[in-house]
């Protein structure tokens, strides 16, 4: 469990990125922080592994105040996946995946063996292990990034817009993989995105943020859709448009679901 307790972050230039933020992130679930750029979502994520320290307030992981932990040790037990993978270009895929175990002093052979298993886990062929990141496609690089994040078997996986830079088809693949991995491995995933569809697809809990890290609404995707807290949220999730505003039409004794424009999208099953 990760807890934010009245966390405020003011940067040296005076910008208040996060203002008095409280949140409880439940374990073994995916929590998505979603909002437009400048809402403080990445700042919040990076405060969990102390890449950024809060100006005031505290962040607790399983009841332990992270301010009392050494940042380097903390980061090694939290998986981190970023946009554009952030792989080391001069190291082979297998060595990139093994980075954290090697830092933790795991013997090289053992770390590599584990890295190869992780390639299987994230759906990459082992033949890619000896390639360099640049020789891989964007989607493959991103999978390697996920494998690296999982390498030290962390309880927590932080994902900072990890699929922002890949094409829509690969992105859909990676989203499915992320759901599968979360279910199989039971990690606590904290995911940052600006894409509300991605948030609803991946999140057990979705946190919609406004400027300054103010929570506009917090809940499951269904709860948010059923009952948007205010106009901002309604507009944000697009509650009144397209596939989010469905109606039922009775046709030949069946309930046909149509969208805003009257285009049929499916049939309600009895």
């Amino acid at each position: 469990m990760i807890e934010f307790r009245s966390v405020t972050k003011q940067f040296p230039d005076g910008t208040v990125a996060v203002d008095d933020f409280d949140l409880v992130i439940p374990p073994r679930q995916t929590t998505v922080l979603v909002g437009s750029s400048g809402c403080g979502k990445t700042t919040l994520l990076r405060m969990i592994n102390r890449m950024i320290d809060p100006s005031s307030g505290s962040i607790l992981i399983d009841g332990e105040d992270t301010a009392k932990l050494a940042p380097v040790q903390l980061r090694r037990r939290i998986g981190y996946v970023m946009q554009n993978s952030g792989l080391l270009p001069h190291r082979k895929v297998v060595d990139n995946v093994a980075t954290v175990p090697l830092l933790n002093g795991v013997p090289k052979g053992e770390a590599r063996e584990r890295a190869l298993e992780l390639l299987d886990t994230v759906g990459l062929d082992r033949s890619l292990a000896t390639k360099y990141p640049r020789q891989l496609s964007g989607g493959q690089q991103q999978r390697v990034g996920v494998a690296r994040g999982l390498a030290a078997d962390p309880n927590i996986l932080l994902m900072d817009e990890p699929f922002g830079a890949v094409d829509p088809i690969v992105r859909a693949e990676l989203q499915r993989e992320t759901i599968r991995l979360q279910q199989e491995l039971g990690k606590t995933v904290v995911f940052v995105t600006h894409d509300i569809d991605e948030a609803f697809l991946l999140g057990h809990q979705v946190v919609i943020l406004q400027k300054g890290g103010h929570i506009a609404q917090l809940g499951s995707p269904a709860e948010i859709l059923a009952n948007p807290a205010d106009d901002f949220v309604a507009t944000f999730v697009g509650a009144d448009r397209g596939k989010r505003a469905l109606r039922i039409q009775r046709v030949d004794g069946r309930d046909v679901v149509v969208d805003q424009n009257g285009t049929p999208t499916g049939v309600l099953q009895p």
Partner: protein, 245 residues
């Protein structure tokens, strides 16, 4: 043309090759100055450049110091040091160290600066200490530009080491200053040809070295689409959210 042939003849004459005043020994002195000065300068400039490149602090200072050092006329510096330290190898060596520092400093910090910030950020985020970020990420990725700095440093120093002869510091310049005094143009030319050839050979070696130290993954290119799994059904494509109400 006869003069150049005379210079070559001077080089080929065995009498000019061996002994304490033969050009074998003088060439060795020239090399000694070059590598000695660059090595001393490297000990000073590379850690300093790495510090500047890693922290991003003191960059302006580093730029103006190296710019200032570059602007110093070597002959003037040599005479100044000569007055202070007397005849011998110390004053030329020190002069050459001053000359060698700017390109090394620039090579060291610009090598770090050229690295994608996101790579460094990711290294830190997965739990590397600052020293590990430097040693495992910044140094290897910054190596090509550093070697570039070493290369231009060597090139400048090997040519300027000729000045050592001006204050009795030996090396190939000795022939040139002697030759000028005694109007022995063949000897002057012979020595000049040797200096030029030495500079070209060193340049070639370091150009090659610079290519060799580019980390392999950085040269490797051509992304290839290798799908390792059959295509999957397409999931919902995201639409970016809209700002505000």
């Amino acid at each position: 043309m006869n003069l150049i042939l005379g210079g070559i003849a001077w080089i080929l004459d065995p009498a000019n090759q061996t002994g304490p005043n033969g050009w074998f020994a003088r060439l060795a002195e020239q090399l000694g100055y070059t590598f000695g000065a660059v090595a001393i300068a490297a000990v000073i400039a590379i850690p300093l450049g790495y510090l500047v490149g890693h922290t991003g602090k003191g960059r302006d200072l580093a730029v103006s110091i190296s710019g200032g050092l570059r602007a110093l006329p070597s002959l003037g510096v040599l005479i100044l040091f000569g007055f202070a330290l007397g005849i011998g190898f110390k004053a030329p060596l020190l002069t050459l160290v001053v000359l060698a520092i700017p390109p090394l400093l620039a090579g060291a910090y610009s090598g770090f600066e050229a690295i994608d910030r996101r790579t460094v950020d990711a290294a830190r985020a997965v739990g590397m200490t600052e020293l590990q970020v430097v040693g495992k990420v910044e140094v290897p990725l910054g190596l090509p530009l550093l070697i570039g700095g070493v290369r231009s440093s060597i090139l400048q120093v090997v040519a300027t080491a000729t000045l050592a002869g001006y204050i009795g510091g030996g090396a190939l310049g000795t022939y040139i200053f002697q030759g000028a005094a005694t109007r022995d143009y063949e000897q002057m030319l012979g020595a000049s040809i040797l200096v030029t050839a030495l500079a070209l050979v060193l340049e070639g070696i370091f150009a090659l070295l610079q290519k060799l130290v580019v980390p392999r993954g950085v040269v490797a290119k051509e992304p290839q689409e290798v799908r390792t799994r059959s295509s999957r059904p397409r999931a919902a494509m995201g639409s970016p959210i809209r700002e505000g109400k």
